[in-house]
């Protein structure tokens, strides 16, 4: 019982920072306390493990992906509906883009994301990549740094525990990340982005002024609450806050994903656009 209460409090504490700034309540499961949060020798939560983003279903990869959704096996048609990629979840407010920028986002939507950087095999960027559900990601935590390996596009992040970024940042797809602890929440500050990725959803571009704060709160053995605040004064009217989750997938191993191996999309897109393809939705 004590474990349940403690876990619930930890979950609420972990959310408090972002709840104050958002306009809709975060959607979070009651922390079950089914199993304790693994901790390091220093007493901090240990996030080490292989995780699946954008889901709340517990279990192994096989157990958790039995539905008919993206990447599911279809064995259990009654399993929770899995939304696709760039779909906007029910209940989520529109992204707070400036009017001119919102029109640009809409252009991509109306072209069904034919301009998605992923189609060029480029890194997805943040926070799109951690929320990816089709491919696993692996977190390796040490006392001095955290390394996150993403199967999709074979991208990695090396995140030192420090409070400041280097002065000589080169703009990059995944940005420069530094981490610190706020209680039991790992706070990762990311800056130094280029402007070549999408944030979350079709066409959600950003500028090189993007600044992201990620909050990872492991609320029990199986679940990390992933809360993201995006700031970009060049394109957004206010911070854009998204809440998502990472679920532990014990027994899953990252595999190779070499996107450029046989990428037919750029040539096909060029053909379609040349022929004046109609992207009208049903």
């Amino acid at each position: 019982m004590r474990g349940v209460a403690t876990a619930a409090i930890l979950a609420i504490v972990g959310l408090s920072g972002s709840m104050s700034a958002q306009t809709s309540p975060p959607t979070r499961a009651k922390t079950s306390g089914k199993s304790a949060v693994p901790r390091t020798r220093e007493g901090k939560p240990d996030l080490t493990g292989v995780w699946q983003g954008g889901t709340t279903i517990r279990g192994s990869w096989e157990e958790a992906n039995t539905g008919t959704g993206v990447g599911g096996t279809g064995k259990d048609a009654s399993a929770p509906v899995v939304l696709s990629s760039n779909d906007r979840p029910a209940g989520r407010e529109g992204a707070p883009y400036q009017p001119w920028a919102a029109r640009k986002v809409l252009e991509s939507y109306n072209k069904r994301g034919i301009d998605d950087p992923a189609a060029l095999c480029l890194p997805l960027g943040l926070p799109r990549l951690p929320m990816l559900g089709l491919f696993p990601q692996q977190i390796v935590q040490t006392p001095t740094q955290i390394v996150i390996l993403y199967e999709y596009m074979s991208v990695f992040r090396v995140i030192p525990f420090r409070t400041t970024h280097p002065d000589d940042l080169l703009p990059s797809y995944m940005g420069n990340s530094v981490a610190h602890w706020e209680g039991d929440t790992l706070v990762v500050d990311v800056t130094g982005f280029n402007d070549k990725t999408w944030l979350s959803g079709t066409g959600t571009f950003h500028s090189d002024s993007l600044h992201i704060v990620e909050r990872y709160t492991r609320v029990d053995k199986d679940q990390i609450n992933y809360d993201v605040t995006m700031e970009d004064p060049k394109v957004l009217t206010k911070p854009w806050i998204i809440h998502s989750n990472l679920m532990l997938r014990e027994g899953t191993h990252l595999q190779e994903y070499v996107c450029p191996e046989n990428n037919l999309d750029p040539g096909y897109y060029e053909k379609l656009l040349k022929e004046g393809v109609n992207f009208t939705r049903p």
């Binding site: 979070r28 906007r88 095999c121 994903y257």
Partner: protein, 143 residues
């Protein structure tokens, strides 16, 4: 009491925010959800490649004419996680039935979804239609 009520509300709303992301490209950019098709034929080639795997199938029409169709699907790592075994599950010469959607350019190219084997077993070779193309609601408000 107020806290308990809040937690209950959060738990109920939780499934709405599951957003696994399809990659590597939008379904709607390449395929037409208004052109579903079910074809039966014989596999001629299977390619386990990134970012997408492909298989080719000879399809015979009523007049006996044979056309070779190309079907796109998951990359190898996802195929493995959805129950496929390379060079075992589906091989050239196998007779299968495929459900999917045709490419926007109207050629013999399709997005494959479900493959039904001779023994009745079914596996998904690709995701549902409409994945990754923005869904029914854009990320921004439409004004």
């Amino acid at each position: 009491m107020k806290l308990r009520s809040g937690l209950w509300r959060l738990a109920v709303a939780l499934p709405l925010l599951t957003v696994p992301l399809w990659a590597h490209h939008s379904f709607g950019a390449e395929y037409d959800a208004n052109k579903p098709l079910t074809l039966t034929g014989v596999i001629t080639k299977v390619e386990w490649t990134n970012p997408h795997s492909y298989f080719y199938m000879d399809v015979k029409d009523d007049k006996g004419n044979v056309a070779n169709w190309k079907f796109e699907g998951y990359p190898p790592s996802v195929l493995v996680r959805t129950g496929w075994k390379k060079d075992v599950t589906m091989k050239p010469g196998d007779a299968v039935k495929v459900f999917g959607w045709q490419a926007r350019d109207g050629t013999n190219w399709a997005h494959s979804r479900e493959v039904t084997f001779a023994d009745g077993k079914k596996l998904f070779f690709g995701p549902p239609s409409g994945t990754g193309d923005g869904g029914n609601t854009p990320a921004v408000e439409v004004k």
